[in-house]
């Protein structure tokens, strides 16, 4: 059972802010600091960056001082999720922590590398180093929540958040933890933004001068990078019943596959392989495509990624009409757990506005994402995320 949600991102702090942004279909992008000179002159300029928010109500001054940016975001999101679940901030039982991160603590890594390469290795800061490892956010959540169950960090790019939630659900289902904190965190530094842009991944200004993510749109030309953290609380039904809590949604299934045709930094053409993986995921959870009421798609506005996503969905559904599809990454940005937050809100019955950035159907894709009209609360939600490099993951959520 999924009983708590904590999220921070471009739309602000808290699930309410994210729900408002999704209901409005309103992207929240900001100018990236390009002053370091990492960006090509004609490159992307915007990203779904966190606003300047104070996390004082979620972190002590000492914690904020010693933690890397992603650790701060992850710990704040974890505490929000525990509060949302009606649980104390400190766990008494074996609680698992599973966190996905695509890039780890990028600021600390960059500063540390500058120290080593420019000033010499003897200048390396121990405090930066200990918060440069990918599992720093998971470790800090465990320390903050006294969570002594398994601590895992998943690094599988865009597929990571769904893999993390599935792995955490497995830890609870197998009885290794009565409770799990699971989610995703990433920060978007100017260097990372510039590198993603140099790889051609990011949205560039179109003919209208707008730099926007356009999932499934004919004019899409890349995604908006994002940052933030989303953490959820998972509990066994028994644990929830014993304490008398309330669930937001159910985790019904998870699965993954790999597209061998994908280049290392992009998406491939292996729709058949991935459609089989999607169907396997649904069937292991006891469902068929026709049972799905809503797809929360990881389509981000990537030229090849969205094409693959459309082909996979169409192949999996075959002659059955596709259910409504929402594509929240044009609001939340890619990375930082926004997709996961949106998926939980969708399963909990939250309203979705029109798909931000979508205006013109791409006949090659044949997908028209949600137009903002009211949808009945879904019973079964399929969440999708196809990663650059070939990995793909799916999650099946159900109404509580």
């Amino acid at each position: 059972m999924l009983t708590g949600l904590g999220t921070l991102g471009a739309s602000g702090v808290g699930a309410d802010r994210l729900a408002e942004a999704l209901a409005a279909g309103r992207p929240v992008s900001r100018e990236v600091d390009r002053s370091a000179g990492y960006h090509p002159p004609e490159g992307a300029r915007r990203a779904c960056l966190m606003p300047a928010v104070q996390l004082g109500s979620w972190l002590s001054a000492g914690e904020a001082r010693r933690m890397s940016p992603p650790s701060k975001l992850a710990v704040a999101a974890a505490r929000m999720a525990l509060r949302c679940a009606g649980l104390p901030g400190t766990q008494e039982e074996a609680t698992a922590v599973v966190v996905a991160t695509a890039f780890g603590p990028s600021t600390n890594t960059e500063v540390l590398l500058k120290q080593i390469l420019c000033e010499g290795p003897e200048s390396a800061s121990p405090s930066l180093f200990m918060e440069s490892v990918a599992n720093a956010p998971a470790a800090q959540i465990a320390i903050a929540a006294r969570a002594r169950g398994p601590s895992l960090t998943v690094c599988q790019r865009e597929a990571g958040p769904l893999l993390a939630l599935g792995r955490a659900a497995g830890e609870v289902a197998r009885g290794r933890a009565r409770r799990a904190l699971a989610g995703s965190v990433d920060e978007m530094t100017p260097l990372l933004h510039a590198l993603l842009d140099r790889f051609g991944a990011l949205a560039r200004p179109g003919a209208d001068g707008q730099e926007a993510a356009r999932p499934f749109d004919r004019r899409r030309n890349g995604f908006l990078a994002g940052e933030g953290a989303t953490m959820v609380v998972l509990e066994s039904e028994e644990a929830l019943r014993e304490r008398g809590g309330r669930a937001l949604a159910r985790v019904l299934g998870w699965g993954s596959a790999f597209d061998l045709t994908a280049p290392v930094t992009g998406w491939g053409r292996g729709a058949g392989t991935l459609a089989r993986g999607l169907l396997r995921t649904l069937r292991r959870a006891g469902f068929e495509p026709g049972d799905v009421d809503l797809v929360v798609s990881g389509a981000s506005g990537s030229r090849t990624g969205d094409l693959l996503e459309a082909q996979v969905l169409r192949e999996a559904w075959g002659k059955i009409p596709l259910p409504p599809i929402v594509a929240p990454k044009s609001v939340t940005g890619e990375y930082g757990g926004g997709l996961l937050g949106a998926a939980v809100l969708a399963a909990a019955g939250s309203a979705f506005g029109p798909t931000a950035g979508f205006e013109e159907t791409d006949p090659e894709l044949g997908i028209v994402p949600h137009d903002g009209s009211p949808l009945p609360p879904p019973e079964i939600v399929l969440v999708t995320s196809l990663a650059a490099g070939g990995a793909a993951a799916w999650l099946v959520l159900g109404r509580a």
Partner: protein
């Protein structure tokens, strides 16, 4: 375990193949030869200039066999860690007697651990960027990510099932094996290619030195005067399959992966819980998962980094699990010979553990070199000097205790004994 999964008996999981590359050389044969001889693989570092680093040694992997660059497609584009991973995976599936590309690639998964992936190549790229070099080689960054080695293995072997990289610092490799064990047990995959890979890079070399956790001399786990870890690099891969499937194929299993357990200290980012409670919980969970009592364990391949705090905490964990036997149970310290392979260490030590079980002897931590006096505060039975014959050994535990308090333990059994 999902809604649609059956509730039948849990499948027993065999290790049908292993592959490894480390400072001892390329291949399992060179690993076992070096381990058995108790010959440390440490030498002055060559990968990058160590002159301004606090320490200068590492168990660095030597040049690859010449044929690899021709035999493995895209070899030149792979990061060093990717190359290690692809080599070890190829060796492991060959030992398992499996032909790749596999006829049903959806049934194969890759579960990998890495701390830094292609960080070494990223450092070269970043140095060029900082120098203002106009033509940057983006391809050098292509497999920079932590998931690079696992993805490279999947591509090389044509895997179409789950591919997942775990990066929980020094427990990554062991946690990846635990994830693979779950996947095979529950039928998510029929074949799991699982392990880890990491290569030496300046970030970790300077970082651990900044923490003063590296010994200037080769590391001396559990010994008096120990002053820290030594670096290593490499990859190790295990092929996991349902036991009955391996037997049906006529392949002799190397061992059985009988159980896995994990925990977190929730204590400090870099220092272990001095009481060893978290580490003990991981071992107890692994034994419970295997359905075995502590008395069934014949030896332990310890995490044994050689840092004063880690080894002391591990000793206390052993005391909690094994009680009075903690002073007597033979302890293997693979890191004393191959160094700390970070995200790969749990996987490489799993291979070492399997080899010890299979050959019925435990490799020594050293061949008797100086600096191996016992530490009265950690009175473990460390195997030193000569290999310790233990032909009746049936069960072994391998521990991995990481940065951030993430702990993992694996239980291996000599399969013939369990089947008997």
């Amino acid at each position: 375990m999902q809604r649609g999964e059956g509730t039948g008996a849990v499948r027993r999981v065999a290790v049908s193949g292993v592959g490894a590359v480390c400072g001892m050389g390329w291949g399992v044969a060179s690993l076992w030869e070096g381990l058995r001889a108790g010959r440390p693989a440490f030498a002055p570092l060559r990968r990058f200039d160590p002159s301004r680093h606090r320490t200068r040694l590492a168990a660095e992997v030597g040049e690859p066999p010449a044929h690899l660059s021709r035999a493995i497609p895209g070899w030149r584009r792979l990061s060093i860690a990717d190359r290690f991973a692809v080599f070890a995976a190829g060796e492991a599936v060959e030992r398992a007697g499996l032909a790749f590309p596999y006829p049903s690639p959806d049934e194969v998964g890759v579960y990998f651990g890495s701390s830094t992936g292609g960080m070494y190549e990223s450092e070269l790229f970043f140095a060029d960027l900082l120098r203002g070099r106009r033509r940057l080689r983006l391809s050098a960054l292509a497999s920079q990510q932590v998931n690079g080695p696992g993805d490279a293995v999947a591509r090389h072997l044509g895997v179409a099932g789950p591919v997942e990289t775990l990066s929980s610092a020094c427990a990554s490799g062991a946690l990846a094996l635990a994830a693979a064990l779950d996947a095979v047990r529950c039928g998510e995959v029929e074949v799991a290619i699982a392990g880890g890979a990491d290569s030496l890079c300046q970030l970790t070399y300077a970082g651990f030195n900044s923490l003063r956790s590296v010994d200037e001399a080769p590391c001396r786990p559990f010994r008096a005067g120990r002053a820290g870890m030594s670096f290593g690099e490499g990859a190790a891969v295990l092929v996991l399959e349902p036991l009955e499937r391996v037997l049906a194929r006529g392949t002799e299993p190397l061992a059985e992966l009988a159980g896995a357990g994990a925990s977190c200290d929730a204590h400090h980012m870099t220092a272990p819980d001095p009481a060893g409670t978290g580490a003990a919980a991981a071992v107890e969970a692994a034994l419970a998962d295997a359905g075995l009592a502590p008395e069934a364990v014949d030896f332990v391949n310890a995490h044994g980094t050689g840092t004063p705090l880690n080894d002391a905490a591990e000793w206390r964990a052993l005391q909690q699990v094994f009680g009075e036997r903690s002073r007597e149970i033979p302890l293997v310290a693979t890191k004393a010979l191959v160094g700390h392979l970070l995200g790969c260490s749990g996987a490489l030590e799993a291979v070492a553990t399997i080899l010890c079980l299979r050959y019925g002897e435990l490799h020594p931590a050293s061949n008797g070199a100086e600096g191996y006096e016992a530490d009265p505060d950690v009175p473990v039975s460390l195997v030193t000097g000569e290999p310790l014959p233990l032909p009746d050994a049936r069960t072994a535990v391998s521990t991995s205790l990481a940065f951030g308090g993430s702990n993992a333990a694996l239980v291996f059994s000599r399969w013939m004994d369990r089947a008997a």
